[in-house]
Amino acid sequence: MTETLSGDSALWRAMYRAMLRIRRFEEAIGDCVESGEIIGPAHLYIGEEAVATGVCLALRRDDFIFGAHRSHGHYLAKGGDMAALAAEIFGKATGCSEGRGGSMHIIARDVGLLGTSALVGGGFGPGVGTALASRLQGRDRVTAIFFGDGATEEGIFFEALNFAALHHLPVIFVCENNGYSSHLRIQERQPIDTLYEHAAVYRIPSIRVDGNDVRAVHQTGLEAVDRARKDQGPTFIEAMTYRWRGHVGPKLDLDVGLRTREELDSWIARCPIENLANFMDEVGAWNPGERQAIDREVAQEVATAIGFARQSPRPDPSELLWHVYQD
């Protein structure tokens, strides 16, 4: 695809805004963890914004996505309500899961996020199942499953690839390879670090992409969505990226010896948001003052969402046993 300045600057602005919303939101969540306002575990997506953004901007509103424990970015990129997400992470009754799920169990049904599982690899089975449902229902809806490199070590990963390939289901496997599973580097977990090769075994078109280049991710996503939409089967995308914060919470995990300052800095230098902004500067894609305006709007939106979460009530104890069963 040839990018044209007039045609694509709107898309680039949308990418910029989407990534910045995730970045500023996650930073604010990190602050609230540090201040003790947020009690539960929060796995931050800072540094990986281009993956969720690039893929989700290639999807339709009614397409399904599945995530995992680190899915605030997927939720926001797909179009979930920011205030409801903030409130959920705060454990509030106004949260997207009404305070029953927390950071790891978030849902935005109206935009195709049917609920995230905290079990590594938990999206594979249900995700492939929704793709089969789309086929049976005669709908051209596709499903994107986001997961980390650690999930490729679960047996169900291979089971899901096999079944999706066998029935050439409309599903996109999006592997966010950030090099770590919790504390452990991929080199200590797998004999290879080319995860896209796993899918190639099942004859699934598979591609490795710079996960910090949102335009590249988006282009790859468009091709995968097109293939799925035309009933040509699954695609595997391995997006190479890095999480700036530790496995859980706002800390950097440098003090505990899990990684080096140099490694972190080298990835910060490849910030997906600055990458895109620099490119847009170079080609003159902004109108004067436009970036600053977006920055202000996003800051305001995040402040409003956090304020909403702070002011919301917790669920009433009398509701403890609601929703165990559907009546």
């Binding site: 899961s97 029953r100 089975g125 249900p126 199942g129 049976l136 079944f163 609601w322 165990v324």
Partner: protein, 345 residues
């Protein structure tokens, strides 16, 4: 579509379906339920290992693939975890699915999707999604199949909030409970035992439900209550018959659904008889029999004239050799002995 709700009332003796109904064996009753469900819901799907096989699942799945095609009757790869997850995904997207595990021992591979996802999605997401999926596990044991081809694991599913667990014992209940399970909006674990497949009884041709959570009195009695699950109902009825000759009147109750349990039916029987034996051919520790005994002790203690007795497997894996199997699986004589213990002065 019209559905006949079971006419029998809780607490009344079961007299079987109206005279004139054809007799069907247990597997054929299940097969008819699948056929009628699939006819009525054109998107419903069956998934499982061995669905195209002549020997995996008895006669319960025959001709379904022929009738409904391979799009809707999917014999699947040996991937219990992913395939059960797929069935859950189908349910999330509005397609009702029955996932068939022809041997319950292998269903252990599917524990994550069942425990962590199906059972919890409705709760974790505050009722915004539900998972109307039926996960069918078949108990297939005996004949020297040994420890990994023998297990009855109902209790581990009873342990999970969010799941329902049914164990029909008769052809009539097999059909009616399967239809009720598929139509339920929650995940249901449907457990049938190959040892029941030779049972033949009248089964209406109608599309009917046996409601979940309602037990049945299989034989009325006044001296001792025996609550028996699944295949143990057959042994309990035999025990009751043996003891009738010596003047002991045994009431046999089949809970049919283990979760939610028809507690009132059990308590009212114990209030009448004052004695309780619970027979569940599964491991004893934290088992269905333990749960029923604990509930009765909590809620009907003042009616009890003797300690509650459990009849279960020993706390040991299943053996291979028939000489060991003979003493491993509980039978009518074990229930007779347990009843006699409750009658000791």
């Amino acid at each position: 579509m019209s559905i006949k709700t079971e006419a029998r009332k809780t607490g009344q003796p079961l007299v079987g379906p109206p005279a004139g109904d054809r007799a069907l064996d247990y597997g054929s009753a299940l097969n008819e339920a699948f056929l009628q469900l699939m006819e009525r819901d054109p998107t419903m799907v069956l998934i499982g290992q061995g669905l195209y096989s002549p020997w995996y699942v008895g006669n319960s799945m025959v001709k379904l693939e022929e009738r409904f095609g391979k799009e809707r009757v999917i014999d699947c790869p040996v991937s219990e975890s992913a395939m059960t997850g797929v069935a859950i995904g189908l349910a999330l997207a509005g397609v009702r699915a029955v996932m068939v595990h022809p041997r319950m021992d292998f269903m252990v591979y599917a524990t994550d999707p069942i425990f962590n996802q199906a059972a919890k999605a409705h709760y974790m997401f505050a009722g915004q999604v539900n998972v109307p999926v039926v996960i069918r596990g078949i108990i297939n044991r005996g004949n020297e199949q040994a420890a990994q081809h023998a297990q009855a694991l109902q209790s581990i599913y009873m342990h999970q909030p969010g799941l329902k667990v049914v164990m029909p014992a008769t052809p009539y209940d097999a059909k009616g409970l399967l239809i009720a399970s598929v139509r339920d909006d929650n995940p249901v674990i449907f457990i049938d035992d190959r040892w029941l497949y030779s049972q033949v009884a009248p089964v209406p041709e109608d599309f009917y439900v046996v409601p979940l959570g309602k037990g049945a009195v299989l034989r009325p009695g006044s001296d001792v209550t025996v609550v028996a699950t699944s295949y143990m109902t057959v042994e309990a009825l035999s025990a009751a018959e043996q003891l009738a000759g010596s003047g002991v009147s045994v009431e046999v109750i089949d809970p049919r659904t283990l979760k939610p349990l028809d507690e009132e039916l059990i308590y009212s029987s114990v209030e009448k008889t004052g004695r309780l034996v619970v027979a569940d051919a599964a491991f004893p520790t934290c088992g269905a029999a333990s749960e029923i005994a604990a509930l009765a002790a909590e809620h009907a203690f003042s009616s009890l004239k003797a300690p509650i007795q459990r009849v279960t497997l020993p706390d040991a894996p299943a053996p291979c050799s028939t000489s060991l199997e003979e003493v491993y699986f509980p039978k009518a004589e074990n229930i007779v002995l347990a009843i006699q213990r409750t009658l000791k002065p």
